[in-house]
């Protein structure tokens, strides 16, 4: 008979971060409305640089996709994943939410990929082509809906294949 494991010690401490005291100071500071207004204005100044950043990330995605087939697949998947994740980070600058959905879908596809099989490569290509179409486009759900639906089915199909393979 083995001894029962000792109950793990739990220590509970009441948190009162210094940040709370600093934020409560009445001299200086601003109201929430003003803070949000300023943040919006700041982000507006960063809109074009962010869109340019997405341009560059798309070029990098294309380049990595076109890299020699002999290149290490895991490293290529990782590189593609990071580029897609960086697009998600910047796509708040877009005037439609579709780029974000497409880039996140690409992250999902790559995260679940166990190699760069022809079907994964085809899925990645479709995602990149869709991101190019959606990037810098005005908000138009009628146009964007079918594209995003198509990407969702790519992901769904890939998951079904993966499940079937066990």
């Amino acid at each position: 008979m083995t001894d029962a494991p000792a109950a793990s010690q739990v220590r509970k401490i009441r948190m009162r971060p210094r940040l709370a005291q600093l934020m409560a100071e009445k001299s200086g500071g601003m109201y929430v409305a003003e803070a949000l207004k300023r943040a919006d204005a700041t982000l507006e100044t960063l809109r074009e640089p962010s869109l340019t950043g997405i341009d560059e990330l798309i070029v990098a995605l294309d380049a990595l996709l076109a890299a020699e087939a002999g290149a290490e697949p895991a490293a290529r998947i990782e590189g593609l994943y990071q580029l897609a994740a960086n697009i998600v980070g910047l796509c708040g600058a877009e005037r439609n939410v579709a780029v974000q959905v497409a880039a996140r879908s690409l992250c999902e596809l790559l995260d679940e990929a166990d190699g760069l099989s022809p079907s994964i490569l085809a899925g990645v290509k479709v995602h990149i082509a869709s991101i190019k179409l959606l990037h810098r486009a005005a908000d138009n759900p009628a146009l964007q809906g079918p594209i995003l639906q198509g990407l969702a089915s790519v992901l769904e199909k890939r998951r079904a294949e993966s499940k079937a393979q066990g």
Partner: protein, 215 residues
Amino acid sequence: MISHRLWSHRGRPEHVGVLQPSQHINLEKARALIVDDNHQSLDLLVGVLTSFGLRNVIRKESGREARDELEFQQVDLILANAHLPEIDGYDLIRWLRREADEASRMTPAIIVSAHTRRSQVEKARDCGANFIITKPISPAVMLERILWVARSDRLFIETESYVGPDRRWRNAGPPIEFPDGRRRDDQSIELSDGEGFNMSQDELDMLIKPLRSLA
């Protein structure tokens, strides 16, 4: 109260939270450490935080640099990207909670992440961050989270397997200082009139009695 829109979709406002416009905030004397390996994402984070009045911002591009900084400097708020070279954001916060100087261990820490890998969901849950925010960042969400981490009377838990803010705090009810005591995803405070007959005590008892198998 105002609802704030996401930065990106002006034509189609997306209400992300409810903040009191007349609420006063003061971040002038606070010091924040912001870590992101993508310089444009770092610019966005710093831009939003300085718009909130934060003046003392330390920028770092790797988890190792951030850790070196935290070994010698105390900060009031940490914002770290989940993905970082060498030491990722989750490991950075885990190190902070377990191994950093006593004065720094309970520092409010927020992780920002574009996408959480399946393999990292548990790591994210257990790292000890106060919040995980999804990119792209929205100023309203960011400010709301900062207000929560600063003011919530949340317990700090230390066990063998987890060190960080109490993860069961949602069950403890809304933070007492939160406007009108309710979160935005709580059920409506409006209750309709009761319909039908009241149930008898026996009927109520039957509802909560464990069901016996007929087999």
